[in-house]
Amino acid sequence: MSAPGGDALIRMEGVHKWFGANHVIKGVDLSVEKGSVVVIIGPSGSGKSTLLRMMNMLEEPTEGKVWFEGKDITDIRTDLNRVRTDIGIVFQSFNLFPHMTAMGNITIALRKVLKLDAKEAAERARAELEHMGLPEKADEYPSQLSGGQQQRIAIARALAMRPKLMLFDEVTSALDPELVQEVLDAMKRLADEGMTMVVVTHEMGFAREVGTRMIFTDGGRIVEDGPPREIFDNPKDDRTKDFLSHVL
């Protein structure tokens, strides 16, 4: 292992996370290859969201290192604002900016962070709205949209930055059942286009169908890692078996 980052887009090594006295991540080594769709499943409290949030340093590892494109992003000297423009994240609770229209939500970072001019930002935003199937919602405020539409706007907002990696943190968990599919479809489209994705989810169908690799976490550790079909059909670890028997 010469270059610590390797060819992987994200690489984690010996990562631990404590919240106070609570040891949430207990030594994780993981790399995410370009073009892969990594699905992280596991019981609640197993640390999967924390793991995901450490990939863009929303949570700082207490111990261990994280590389993005070979660059150590746990190094204090790394410009995280710059790194984050290459990593999109979508949250369970959408986190759209309620005081801005859909258009405003998408263009604000394009203009203020990437310094695009207003026209170019608007064009990109329109293209992403189209991409997410919501071209007519540009001037609506988040409160005027359904949960599924809001989440697709949130995906469009992240995509407009042209990220190299997309992180999804239980993005369908806050949605009414009938709205889940439209968001999953959008994510599947994204995967088909070759986007590198890390997806924390409870949607087993999506994991099996779209994931190129599945990780099962329990108690702050990765207990199983492999192709989704293999894990679903033939789980090796007892905890995985137990979990899958409950959710399938």
């Binding site: 423009t85 609770s93 309620p98 005081h99 970072a109 409160s143």
Partner: protein, 349 residues
């Protein structure tokens, strides 16, 4: 959508004779009190104060009070006794409203009675409702109101700017940044404004010979004081914004300051409009304390004008003049802010 006429007809059809009667009697009690009193004062003339006193003590005023009391008590007693048995919701609401109005009429009459039967009602009227005297000070009061508005507006503008900076400082994770801001806020919140004004005047202007006018000193100290209170308001506003908003902004590559400026503060501002208005209204009234600085004649605000006029005529009606001035400023302000709030809310919630 039903038209106004349709809604009124529907409402009327759900009323009973008793419920309508209760509403009318209760409203009548309040109406008799106000209309009767105002009419008598108007007929007899509000000035000179002797005629006002005469009206207050007159048999006609006594009749008005007794009538209002009778109507109010009847509506209150009958309303509360019968509202549970009303057949429709509209009828019950009418009965309860009639009873509530009745109670209000009784309370109003009670207060007026107490005033009328007071030990020295003549002195009260002469000292507080001698409106004739206000006339000659009209221009002074208008000028005073201008100064009150100006001092409060400059103080609030300074206070908002300072408060915003202080709020960001006390939210810092670094104790060396937080501590001085915290000390400033606690000091200005913990000491009387009247002392701060006096110290600003004697300490800074006279003692240290800082070349600012007394008027500027007043505006500056009001601003320094308002800054401490506004800081706490902004802090709570900023902290009330969900953590996810900051996370979303930072994840898009925004710096701390960018996330504040474009995402957190615009939302926080809307949330702090009510407490900030409250603070502004308190500041408007606090301008009355700048009398300790001894402003020049044209620089005097409402309260100082009233004090001067009182010193000249030994009549407290002058303070009523100031009160009218304060209300003329604060009531439209409250109304304007309510409208602004509704407009902002219409945008996204």
């Amino acid at each position: 959508m039903k038209t106004r006429g349709e809604r009124i007809r529907e409402w009327t059809s759900e009323q009973t004779a008793l419920s309508l009667g209760l509403l009318l009697v209760g409203a009548g009690g309040v109406a008799v009190f106000f209309v009767g009193t105002i009419l008598l004062v108007w007929l007899n003339g509000p000035t000179p104060w002797e005629s006002l006193l005469e009206t207050v003590l007159s048999a006609a005023q006594g009749t008005v009070l007794n009538l209002a009391l009778g109507l109010g008590a009847a509506a209150a007693i009958a309303g509360f006794a019968s509202y549970r048995r009303m057949p429709t919701k509209a009828a019950r609401e009418a009965a309860v409203s009639g009873a509530a109005l009745g109670v209000q009429a009784v309370l109003l009459v009670g207060v007026f009675y107490a005033f009328r039967k007071g030990e020295n009602v003549a002195l009260t009227v002469r000292q507080n409702f001698n409106f004739e005297l206000l006339g000659e000070f009209g221009d002074a009061f208008v000028n005073g109101a201008k100064n009150t508005v100006f001092l409060a507006a400059v103080g609030e503008a300074l206070g908002i700017a300072l408060g915003l900076v202080l709020a960001l400082l006390i939210l810092s994770e670094r104790v060396v940044v937080r501590a001085p801001a915290r000390a400033y806020i606690n000091f200005f919140r913990g000491t009387p404004l009247v002392w701060q004004l006096a110290f600003g005047y004697f300490g800074l202007k006279l003692g240290m010979r800082i070349p600012i006018s007394t008027y500027q000193t007043a505006a500056l100290v009001l601003g320094l004081n308002a800054g401490a209170y506004s800081a706490e308001i902004f802090r709570s506003g900023i902290q009330s914004i969900e953590r996810g908003q900051r996370e979303a902004a930072r994840s898009l590559g925004m710096s701390y300051m960018q996330s504040m400026r474009y995402v957190i503060l615009p939302q926080a501002f809307r949330r702090v409009i009510p407490p900030l208005t409250n603070e502004f209204i308190i500041l408007i009234k606090d301008t009355s304390l700048v009398f300790v600085l001894g402003l020049t004649l044209e620089g005097r605000e409402l309260f100082a004008v009233a004090r001067d006029a009182y010193a000249e005529r030994f009549n407290a009606t002058m303070y009523i003049g100031a009160v009218i001035g304060y209300l003329a400023i604060t009531l439209p302000l409250i109304r304007a802010v309510t409208m602004l709030e509704n407009k902002l809310r219409a945008g996204y919630r």
